[in-house]
Amino acid sequence: MAELAITKRTNEEWLSALSGDEATVANALEDLRVILLRGLKHALNARADLDYDRMDALAEDAVQDALLTIRDKADTFKGNSMFTTWAHKIAVHKALSELRRKRWKDASLDDMLESGSGIGMFRSSKPGPEGQMVRSQTMTVVQDIIKNELTDRQKQAMVALKIQGMPIQEVADRMGMKRNALYKLMHDARLKLKKRLAQEGLTPEDVLRQFE
């Protein structure tokens, strides 16, 4: 079995092999391919939430792509982990990015926002039946804060991320932002809401009790 022939390497040996002559590099990359593919196929197929019918082929492509990155970027490996962990990280990221892209390729942010569960959810609260408990008024306060304090882009992102379950990278791409900038946008939104709740004398814990 080819798998039994894989040479165990230390981090230094991996790095040395990947900067060696052509045959040494090819040999190391082939070993790494076997290791990464074995892990990635198993990990992806074990996930019920990653429903995709050509998972093995996707894993093979992701590993191939990862190997190119690993070979080119091996000198950026900081040595803070096992080399193979770093390599797995790159392969997993490639695979998940591709899976998310395929899963959401036909999804439009505009369509989401116009759907029933879209931006309309931030509309003013509707009056409910009389006789509800006082705790509902707390929820009205919370709902109004959310409606009034968040920017349109924060609301858009919230609908896509939290209601539609769209991955952050996919939302960021559609909003013309980097993933980091979108995380920051949502972090700012959370900080603002938390501050406004505090100004109303409410903590998140107080509000969560309304759900009990």
């Binding site: 892990g39 198993h42 998940l96 931030f122 609260s125 509707k126 006082v134 009205t140």
Partner: protein, 96 residues
């Protein structure tokens, strides 16, 4: 506070959570995330940069709560990074 009291006990019509635009589950999720929100948080790229180091620490059984609390916090806040983390652990374990 005065504003809150006036809203709580004023003559406003009372509204159950389910009659509002935002689904209760989303509202609950949002408020839960506020509870965990910190003034400064690592972003997704910070996490990716150190995910290999973090995962090795987890697999060694290191005390990550003490060693890398900000990493752990982001993984609790970010669904996509957490999925990446879980799959990475699974891949490493399967690869042997």
């Amino acid at each position: 506070m005065k504003n809150l009291i006036s809203r709580l006990f004023g003559r406003n019509k009372r509204t159950p959570a389910h009659a509002m635009g935002m689904p209760p589950e989303m509202l609950k999720g949002l408020i839960t995330s506020l509870e965990k929100t910190k003034p400064i948080e690592l972003d997704c790229e910070d996490i990716f940069a150190r995910l290999d180091e973090y995962v090795d620490a987890v697999l060694r059984g290191d005390d990550i709560n003490t060693m890398m609390p900000d990493m752990k916090h982001h993984l609790e806040m970010c669904r996509d990074c957490f999925q990446e983390y879980e799959i990475l652990v699974s891949a490493i374990e399967a690869a042997g």
